[in-house]
Symmetry: C2
Subunit: 519 residues, 2 copies
């Protein structure tokens, strides 16, 4: 680090002065000043001192997107009478590696000086993904100045050191209840990056439709709603690449044995019977051949360390009432709960064979936690005491308790999203470390392309801060962050994200005329 | 026209056969066939035989956008084994002129052959704006073929001759009740082009906020909701240019004397008094100086032939109860209705001096129609018999009856939008010609960036067909067009336009899981 910047950092530590910090989520450590800096319309990026070659243009394209998003709200004056002018940003990335995966270092530092010639901001990050977060933070420091008609950055010099509290900060989307066109999914991914969410949990398939191509079992997507409401294998790869380029991992879920009625449209033998269609037929080896085929295909598309195998809400009555399955249970000395366990564990084994670590919804843990693969991550959704129990049992956990973090629950307020603490009642550090993070869930029964972004935002942003910002900086009273979240919501609107007003239930329309920042 | 195409046209006239035509709005004349044509991934545009030089890249950029929108849904295969392949489109524009304005020729013909080598589609239009409509229609003929993983165009050969029924097909947006960021307005403009709407009626200012810069009276935008909820003069020019490049005219409205409370935030003398703030003070010459300044500034920005001067919902009690205005009325021998007339006519004169033709809401016509400038266009909104009366009096008229065409009325169904006939009860051709068209109105009390597109679409599309398609082809029963409108709605979703389901009231969420085309 350049000596001048080092000195700046030292000074910032000893003279912390923080004017309004309108960044969401709040960074770990922020100091700023009182100077206004003008941003050059031809802002450059340099990489002096960087080890990263950016062959995939991850950084270059992110920089271009950042500039575009900062410049799109108003026409910027061509003339340059004001100063000082920030002419560029120097981005120093330590690692040559740009394979995104779980646990990648996302930390960064961002320095925006107010003196110097030429004036350059400095980003330093261990990986390119930290640099992407730095660019996002930088973009939120910019605003349009009506006097000069230029982009400015107020309260410089800035010194920001930042890194996330939790490594898993997720959003679930559900493309089975309603098909989401690929461009819509891409816009959701873009919006995630604005609040530094980093896992897109793609709940691809469920009871109502099977929209994705499985080349090893090509009739599975006969269960799609219609000819065109489908994702080809290449579409899935495209989505994953789009996300990864933006620092977002894609977690695929193939929920078994329940929530799988749609599988049988193409392969009816997967159903227990023609009149009893869920869960998947546990007695039929073909069921596991299909699961194997799906996971094999997925292993070529979804490179995230984890795969989600579902396992929730399994009503086994179609097993016990369908004669051939009933017989199989007896033959194998199983009752229905044994069979459920058998199914989940066999699916886990298949997934492990493709190199995945497994996430399951909480019911397998609740029912037979001691039998689960020890690397299983428990996805808490029902609520209550599950997270505590999972980590006490030595298993990793992701928190999505439905009373607070289900976005389809329109009566779940942003305040409730903000205040939901993943480490609630978990005190031992070794157990706290097992909470990987959390996820807000946008179930699709009543969302489609017309209302998904309004339903996700701004409540998901409230959770995003809970998952990113150090606990010491998390507000203990949501009224302290309401103005900043309102501004972030308005920023989202400017960026084309249809984030709903803060006031009222999820996806409420504004009730009256008024300013964006007060609604 | 090439002989082969001429023959094609003749054949199409004598052998009309129309398979499913999934174009919205329905073109004037359509014939198609049974062949499938594959679209080259490198589709070219040529201009052989065209007179138009496209210096502003209107055509070139529209072609690029069209290709992007057609190709964005799915990953397209690189390999080309199928045929025939459409390699390009030849676009012949008759006129060199590309100044957009009211009454510009928007007609076009579109021929997509199924044989020929090389295979080219042919567009012919009198103006580039007709060609833009042709490109839009072409884009709606394209779809993704899962077998070849390429874009195809089914039911070729196509022979389409098209032109709009009405020259004025508008959408009102309201940036006073809620500020709409410039990028949001641009997305609205994009979505208008998909259903061939051609006038953006920008209701810029109203009681609640004054968001636009008026350089001649720079304190007016002190009435904005906040520092950043503003449009600079350059932003307004940018919006107009963005729209014009896409064949959309921008009609600016400066509503006087009512609906103008926000003007007084910067200039309190415009208010009758500090406790009685609407309408604008009729007794104060300064009021008209400000109107003159606004219109002078507008004349440099808004190049549409028309300007809208509002004039609706004028409650004159602040005139009759404020002493200095009461005195002025007496001095000038006016009662309140005289003063209202005087105000509207004086504002009209100012607008005429800048070369504008004037549109007023219907109340001036209802109250003193015979005194209005004879070029006044009456904007019918209350309903009932006004359109008939206006044209019987020899005045032009635009229809926006609130019971059917107000988008903020969520209980106004798409069926009601579709069935609302601008020429209802107007039988004489010379009077029918005075109905310029109509407009759907997206008042902003309960819409902002989070819900505007859901509230506009798909109901505005229903009106768009009523305004474009010849009456003989307009369905007499909306169940006949529901499937096609549902498909158009899904197309909008694919294009990133958050169009709501057809079922239910305006901007309803989908009530259940299901296919896009059935909701």
């Amino acid at each position: 680090m350049e000596p001048a910047l080092r000195l700046l950092l030292v000074l910032m530590v000893f003279m912390p002065c923080t004017g309004d910090v309108n960044v969401w989520p709040m960074p770990k450590s922020v100091s700023n000043g009182k100077q206004t800096v003008f941003i050059s319309k031809d802002l450059k990026m340099t990489v002096v001192g960087s080890n990263y070659s950016d062959e995939k243009a991850i950084l270059r394209d992110a920089f271009g997107r950042m500039v575009a998003v900062v410049e799109q709200d108003h026409v910027i004056s061509e003339s340059y009478e004001k100063s000082p002018v920030l002419v560029g940003m120097n981005v120093v990335v330590g690692s040559r590696d740009d394979e995104l995966n779980f646990g990648v270092d996302e930390s960064y530092s961002l320095f925006v000086p107010s003196t110097g010639h030429p004036l350059y901001a400095q980003i330093e990050a261990k990986t390119v993904f930290g640099a992407l977060h730095a660019l996002e933070t930088f973009s939120q420091l910019c605003s349009f100045d009506l006097e000069s008609r230029q982009i400015i950055l107020q309260s410089a010099p800035w010194s920001i050191l930042d890194s996330p509290r939790f490594p898993y900060r997720g959003l679930l989307i559900d493309t089975s209840r309603h098909y989401l066109p690929v461009p819509v999914i891409k816009r959701v991914i873009d919006s995630m990056t604005y609040s530094k969410l980093n896992v897109l949990h793609w709940h691809v398939v469920d009871e109502q439709s099977f929209p994705i191509e499985i080349t090893s079992y090509p009739k599975l997507w006969n269960g799609a709603y219609s000819y065109s409401e489908r994702y080809t294998k290449d579409d899935a790869i495209d989505i994953v690449q789009y996300a990864e380029k933006r620092g977002v991992n894609v977690l695929a879920e193939i929920d078994v044995p329940g929530h799988a009625l749609s599988w049988g449209v193409g392969y009816p033998s997967l159903w227990p019977s023609a009149i009893c269609k869920e869960p998947l037929d546990v007695s039929n080896n073909f069921t596991f051949e299909v699961i194997d085929g799906i996971l094999q295909d997925f292993s070529k598309i979804f490179k995230f360390k984890f795969i989600h195998l579902g396992g929730d809400e399994v009503n086994t009555s179609c097993w016990t009432t369908t004669p051939h399955i009933k017989e199989w249970l007896i033959l194998n000395g199983m009752d229905e709960t044994d069979a459920y366990r058998y199914f989940v564990l066999r699916a886990q084994k298949i997934a492990r064979s493709y190199g995945y670590d497994i996430i399951n919804w909480e019911e397998p843990f609740n029912n037979f936690g001691d039998k689960l693969d020890r690397n299983t991550v428990v996805h808490n959704w029902l609520g209550g005491t599950v997270a505590e129990k999972a980590v006490a049992a030595g298993l990793r956990c992701i928190v999505s308790n439905q009373d607070k973090w289900y976005l389809d629950h329109l009566d779940a307020t942003w305040e409730g999203f903000y205040m939901n603490e993943p480490l609630a009642k978990i005190y031992k550090p070794e157990q706290q470390r097992l909470i990987l993070g959390g996820e807000v869930c946008m179930w699709g029964e009543q969302v489609d392309a017309s209302d998904i972004q309004q339903t996700i935002w701004p409540r998901a942003a409230a959770a995003a801060e809970r998952l990113w910002t150090p606990i010491e900086k998390i507000a203990t009273n949501t009224s302290m962050v309401a103005p900043r979240l309102a501004r972030f919501r308005c920023l989202l609107n400017q960026r084309g994200v249809a984030a709903a007003p803060l006031v009222g239930y999820g996806r409420s329309a504004p009730s009256d005329p008024g300013s964006c920042i007060s609604q």
